[in-house]
Symmetry: D2
């Protein structure tokens, strides 16, 4: 099942990801089934996005711009077990007028196996006007630098 | 944007939900933006599913059947603020050979506003054979009882 | 073992608590042992404190005062199971020059059983001066109103 | 304020810790104050304990022994900020008839600063008899190997 309108993009393929961050699995990530609870995957891909966006927001705080998530899609391929660590890949799939779509992949650090992949749709938000807004050029440039294709 | 292949189903419409559970928002659900973090929405819709499935699993533990999530889709319509509570609506959209698709809606308890809606795809899993399996009749009957349309 | 220097205060006694809030247990609160993970108890007692403090902070935002936690003590008496709900009792044990000590009790909503009790030590913090500070009178008055004894 | 009855043990001193594990800070660990929420500290010290205990439990599953936490004490010395990572130190302070007390320290990986320190009291639990039990020799030996002094 495709979850992208770029049909030639395979979200389980490590080579499509432009930015990487790593996180360890905690005992408290586990649920009664003994594997990492599905909500933690949202936390992992958020961590991947934030590693990209946080420095931008810090350096450009005067622009009063933030992003809000409007849609997330996650495909779960293989459960995550404790102990272990994950490498989280992040790329930009598309940039719209006021939006950006990220591709995300969660890979076992030791194995390289893709445990989950997905997309996150965010909208740029003007904190003063309280409405969506096109991304300032400094944001757009940074996002294009990690765009696929 | 439709996230269902039943195009006539509006996931933001309270009346499509057959089962309900309620949860309170905790201070620790908030992130630095001061609203409920997006990962908590996954926890809320899981809580809705579990309220339905847990009794079934408990009563039929001898069948050694569980479910695993294979896909989640969430549309975020309006941020959630503290303090407050949510009503979580759950229905079954489709039952496949070894799978089931749930519809989920998260509504403000006071306001009735739909803050998020989505779908969760689960697969029935035989804990002994370690592979996917058609749902036993008792599960299928329970799921059909909360199916839309 | 006493965890208070008011030796006549029994933290497991519902009648000592002056303020109450209620929270539901979520499936995702459970850990591989099938009961609520110990970190969630910290979230529950924080929720109890916040229900008291948050309105104060909102109404007095111009004072630029916050609190930081400097010590927590929690005694776990009985595990919490899903599904269920808890009543969280909060009182003030002591007010110091720049600090306040809260007493906390977590009780099963259905049973009234005390599942955990403890203390949280907080310090008032001047957000402008970036240092601890005596609580303004409006805070002190509100805390004295829920003080034990 | 001492939180140990071994008054000569300084829980903020890295050199007292016998076992170490490391974890990354996640954006979702942050609360509205922009720092790591206090409940996450419980998750960190649990991760330290679990790194020690989990292999023991796995290798000795046939003994049907587990541990339950009965008391936690945490002193918060300095807030944790994102991004970053922590080194979590764990030692055994005391072994009782059916209990064990762990010492915990949470240190900034880059800075070596002690952000929090504390103790966790656990009881050994016989999963068949459903009551507390003295630790089997294999557990006691492993705990003594990381005991202070």
């Amino acid at each position: 099942m495709s979850n992208s309108d770029k049909p030639d993009v395979d979200l389980q393929d490590r080579s499509i990801y432009r930015a990487w961050t790593s996180h360890t699995i905690r005992y408290n990530d586990l649920d009664p089934l003994g594997h990492v609870n599905n909500a933690v995957y949202s936390t992992f891909v958020e961590a991947g996005r934030t590693a990209l966006l946080q420095p931008l927001f810090m350096e450009n705080a005067s622009l009063k711009i933030d992003t809000v998530i409007v849609r997330s899609v996650m495909d779960f391929h293989k459960e995550l077990r404790y102990p272990g660590a994950v490498d989280i890949g992040t790329s930009v799939l598309r940039i719209g007028k006021t939006s950006v779509v990220f591709a995300n992949g969660i890979f076992g650090r030791e194995t390289g196996v893709c445990h989950a992949s997905g997309e996150a749709y965010l909208v740029f938000f003007d904190l003063v006007e309280r409405k969506s807004t096109p991304p300032p050029k400094v944001f757009r440039d940074a996002l294009e630098a990690v765009m696929i294709g």
